[in-house]
């Protein structure tokens, strides 16, 4: 491999698409056609390496791969592809990886057309100054309408789609045209080889063999193995132990010059010691000015994670620390709950992020966890003028000290076929939304709503999918805080308050919410040998009440000599299931109740 690469033989790009429009499949084809990965190592969705990513078919962390492509002009180009996540929770990761490349392939499913995440992601690419090459995927499908979708791209996004490339990422049709377009239509990076080193820290992660791995994009200058480098924001200095490119497995390289993307290791202890967006330069003869940094992702959803078995607390602590090493956007702080004992209050970018982390804790570290009701961060304006962040409804101070409460709002963009518009408007209205815009692109409506984040984090996306049979798409941006009439609603089970079920609700919705929650809990809590009152209350005032009647029959009618072994196994299994529940006073509440109770079926 030549030690240095001419700038005009490099192309850096990302692929933006709505989820399931075929981004990962296209990436696979590009990798395959250029022989980057030997055929025998090829498995579907090569870049989605985490188990959960493969299982759920989503890309969570951005991934990258370096491809060598012999173009039709006879020259071999280096193509660096950064695969970005599609889900709203990870919008921040999309935005930062965009800054490392010059162009984007905009993949649109030709049978579906433009969706909410198409819009959100392509606008980020446009903001980052990208050249955009539209690609119409899935033209093998009978339902594909490439011409209509081209028009839609022009109408809705406002970019020229006359040169859009029709492809089938599945069959491989049109992939050579995509490779050629990357070379001819996307700009080469710029930069000066002789200038002092200036590289952008694009991402970092923890690898169990190598420790912290840092991904960079070199702007100016050259970085070599053995160099002493400095992180400009943190001031930390390290020596480069290993320099490599990802193909997608690591291949060592002696140096990286302007326009190149690669990774290094430098005996960095934890991912937290690296700041995404930081500028990396040489310790001596550094560059004068840093790149404009990124503002770090703020967690917007918080919940408590407690071990089902209190003895697992230390294991949970270890597991959370290890995961945090690999995910700087996940925050945690120790918490104690009257009912649940010791655990952690954790912050996430969104509900999917929460579920992914919880899944990984349970799966990779073999823990059983109780997740308390997720909450957003409310701002408490105290009478003495202080402004406090409330991460946990259980911490709500006495109202006499509070002047007013603000909650975060979002701007939600929803695209939906005409026939479901009514249901979507109703859903948004029910969630205290304020309509901001309603336009049409063909038979699809695009509605923009101002909504309280608290009403969305929970099950809004599930509800949206179900009322529109999966035809709607959704994206959102944070919009800041606004005052509203919010109160803390507590839940009492068998007359004991369960702090993990406390929520902040709008006063006008409290009765309806409370009723829905107690009804839900009545279904979620198994019958006990005694009857159990379940109540929702604001302060001392009960606003909803249900009674779970006592279990009256649970016995095996026939049990003789041959049944002993089977019956014992069954009872022991039930006993193990019981141990997965948490005891509140005399009542056992199953783990999943804490989240399910908040999901509104409406």
């Amino acid at each position: 491999m030549p030690a240095m690469t001419q700038l005009d033989l490099i192309r850096n790009f990302s692929i933006v698409a709505h989820i399931d429009h075929g981004k990962s499949t296209l990436a696979d084809r590009l990798i395959q056609l250029t022989g980057t990965v030997a055929a025998r190592d090829m498995k579907a969705q090569l870049l989605d390496s985490m188990d959960i990513e493969r299982e759920r078919g989503i890309t969570i962390k951005a991934n990258t791969v370096r491809i060598e492509y012999p173009a039709r002009d006879g020259k071999t180009y280096i193509l660096n592809l950064i695969d970005t996540p599609g889900h709203v929770d990870f919008a921040y990761e999309v935005s930062r990886s965009m800054r490392a490349v010059e162009g984007s392939l905009l993949v649109v499913d030709a049978s579906q057309g433009v969706e909410a995440q198409t819009l959100a992601n392509v606008y980020q690419a446009i903001d980052a100054g990208h050249e955009i090459v539209p690609v119409l995927n899935k033209i093998d499908l009978p339902a594909a309408e490439p011409d209509r979708v081209k028009e839609q791209i022009e109408d809705v996004i406002g970019i020229d789609a006359s040169q859009a490339i029709p492809i089938s990422a599945k069959s491989g049709l049109g992939i050579p045209d995509v490779l050629e377009a990357i070379v001819t239509r996307l700009p080469a990076p710029t930069g000066t080889r002789d200038a002092p080193l200036k590289a952008m820290l694009v991402d970092s992660w923890y690898d169990s063999y190598l420790g912290v791995v840092v991904m960079i994009r070199v702007m100016d200058g050259v970085i070599r193995k053995g160099d002493r480098i400095k992180m400009m924001q943190t001031g930390a200095v390290y020596g480069i132990d290993k320099l490599a490119v990802l193909k997608p497995q690591m291949v060592d390289i002696p140096e990286l010059g302007p326009g190149e993307i690669g990774v290094f290791t430098a005996s960095i202890k934890q991912v937290r010691d690296t700041r995404v967006g930081d500028t990396i330069t040489h310790e001596k003869k550094g560059c004068a000015e840093a790149l404009p940094g990124f503002k770090p992702a703020q967690p917007v959803v918080f919940c408590g994670l407690f071990p089902v078995d209190a003895n697992d607390f230390e294991n949970l602590r270890d597991a959370i620390e290890k995961l945090a090493l690999n995910d700087a956007s996940f925050s945690s702080e120790m918490e104690t709950s009257a009912a649940l004992g010791f655990g952690f209050r954790c912050g996430f970018l969104g509900l999917l992020h929460l579920e992914v982390i919880r899944d990984r804790l349970e799966r990779e570290y073999d823990l059983d966890l109780i997740t308390t009701a997720p909450s957003v961060v409310f701002k408490l304006h105290m009478r003495d003028g202080e402004v406090r962040d409330l991460h946990n409804p259980a911490d709500m101070p006495d109202l006499t000290y509070v002047d007013h409460i603000e909650e975060p709002r979002i701007k939600a963009t929803i695209m939906v076929p005409d026939e479901y518009l009514g249901d979507v408007l109703k859903l948004c209205q029910d969630r205290r939304g304020i309509q901001m815009d309603l336009t049409y692109a063909g038979s699809r409506a695009m509605v923009v709503y101002d909504l309280p984040l608290a009403e969305v984090v929970f099950d809004f996306y599930d509800r949206l999918k179900s009322v529109t049979k999966g035809y709607a798409s959704f994206d959102y941006q944070m919009m800041g805080y606004r005052e509203d009439f919010l109160v803390k609603m507590s839940i009492l089970v068998n007359d004991e308050p369960v702090d993990a079920l406390s929520t902040m609700v709008h006063r006008d919705r409290a009765e309806a919410r409370g009723r829905a929650m107690v009804e839900k809990l009545k279904e979620l809590i198994p019958r006990h040998m005694f009857k159990i009152p379940i109540q929702a209350a604001i302060g001392a005032r009960v606003i909803a009440r249900e009674t779970l009647s006592a279990m009256r029959k649970d016995v095996t009618a026939k049990c003789y000599g041959g049944d002993v072994t089977r019956k014992k196994k069954l009872l022991e299994k039930q006993k193990a299931g019981k141990k997965k529940m948490r005891q509140f006073g005399k009542v056992e509440i199953p783990q999943q109740a804490f989240i399910s109770a908040l999901k509104m079926d409406e």
Binding site: M551, R552, D554, K558, C559, G561, G562, K568, L571
Partner: protein, 384 residues
């Protein structure tokens, strides 16, 4: 051997064939075109010899022919087996020999032969006392045939018990009460009264899954029917001595008491289980379920045993708790504690007592009538 402490030592013999398969039944029962009863006889006798050697010197107190439909066995076969049993073990003076019988007219014709072979207790699967319900349960006999068979049985055997299944489709509590009183009028001294259970893998389960099998009572109604059954039988002088079994005092099934008192029993035949105390400890013993597998194993390898698992003390404590609390007499707390290595969880015991689910008296602990209705939940609280 301390068998007397736990109700004695029993022998269970499994006959795996039936004339047809009932849609609710998940017993190890099969319909066969032809059965070579001589070949089966040889296998049973071989097993009796093998198990006899294993349990040498013990006093046998009960024998139980279960099924399947043991009343399809030829009386000669039953006689040959019982002869071998008497030659093999020392026999208690009051040996109880029970045979399960279906109350069809053909079976009734063999009752006398069974009595002559040494059977002294008959357990009849009457199931219902009206033809419509018998048909829905897929039974081959009518109510009149069952009553006739019952009369024949009464003439032949000192002790006759019969089984009824209740909480059937569309059965109201009032209808069940009337049927139960009619059954009590038939001067029996032992009843097994089972609530209909939709068992996995049965035709009923498939029907229920497909949305059929409507009209089964709701849980609360079923609970009412259960408690009502306790009351009616209690008043008639046949209180429950076990969850589903009622008897006049002294007329309990001694064989089944061995299971619930967690005594020792040997199992012979396809899918028969045993619990045996051997010099090395206590074991759970199994045989192959499929009739053909069992037969070829006995013939080919000289043993019907397919699994022998050692029971730890903790296993035994759990099994004793689970079986013993089915009985009105409950468990001996000292025996349980010795096996478990510790007392029952005090807080759980206290709570269950406060709720009226259990009672602890002197050295015993038992479930109340209400507690027996939710016995699985009670046991879950008490298991470690």
């Amino acid at each position: 051997m301390d068998d007397w402490r736990n109700g004695g030592f029993g022998l269970y013999l499994h006959w795996p064939f039936c004339a047809s398969k009932c849609p609710y039944c998940d017993f190890n029962s099969h319909v066969a075109a032809s059965i070579d009863q001589r070949r089966w006889q040889a296998a049973y006798l071989a097993e009796i010899a093998r198990v006899g050697a294993l349990t040498k010197g013990r006093v046998l107190s009960t024998v139980f022919f279960g099924g399947g439909t043991p009343s399809l066995m030829e009386p000669d076969l039953v006689a040959a087996i019982l002869d071998a049993v008497r030659r093999t073990w020392r026999i208690a003076n009051d040996l109880e020999v029970t045979l399960e019988a279906n109350p069809g007219s053909v079976e009734a014709g063999r009752f006398r032969g069974y009595a002559e072979a040494g059977v002294n207790r008959l357990s009849m699967g009457v199931q219902a006392l009206n033809d419509a319900d018998l048909a829905r349960l897929g039974r081959r006999h009518t109510a009149a045939e069952a009553r006739a068979a019952f009369d024949i049985a009464r003439a032949q055997f000192d002790r006759v018990s019969f089984d009824l299944i209740y909480a059937r489709q569309d059965q109201t509590p009032a209808a069940w009460a009337a049927e139960l009183r009619a059954a009590l009028a038939m001067t029996v001294d032992h009843f097994s009264l089972y609530q209909l259970t939709v068992e996995d893998g049965t035709a009923f389960a498939a029907r229920a899954a497909a949305g059929g099998l409507r009209g089964l009572p709701e849980d609360d109604t079923a609970a009412d029917m259960y408690l009502m059954t306790q009351d009616i039988c209690g008043e008639a002088g046949l209180p429950a001595y076990e969850v589903s079994n009622h008897a006049r005092p002294g007329a309990e099934s001694r064989h089944n008491l061995i299971y619930w008192r967690y005594g020792d029993y040997a199992g012979i035949g396809p899918g028969a289980h045993g619990r045996l105390t051997l010099p090395e400890g206590r074991f759970a013993i199994e045989t192959p379920k499929a009739p053909g597998d069992w037969l070829t194993r006995v013939e080919g390898e000289g043993t019907g045993e397919s699994a022998r698992a050692a029971l730890t003390c903790a296993d035994q404590a759990a099994e004793y708790l689970m079986m013993g609390l089915r009985l009105a007499e409950g468990i001996d707390t000292a025996r349980h504690e010795a096996l478990a290595g510790r007392a029952l969880p005090r807080q759980a015991v206290q709570q269950l007592q406060d709720l009226g689910m259990i009672e602890a008296k002197a050295d015993r602990l038992h479930a109340t009538s209400a507690g027996r209705a939710v016995l699985n939940a009670v046991i879950r609280e008490l298991l470690p």
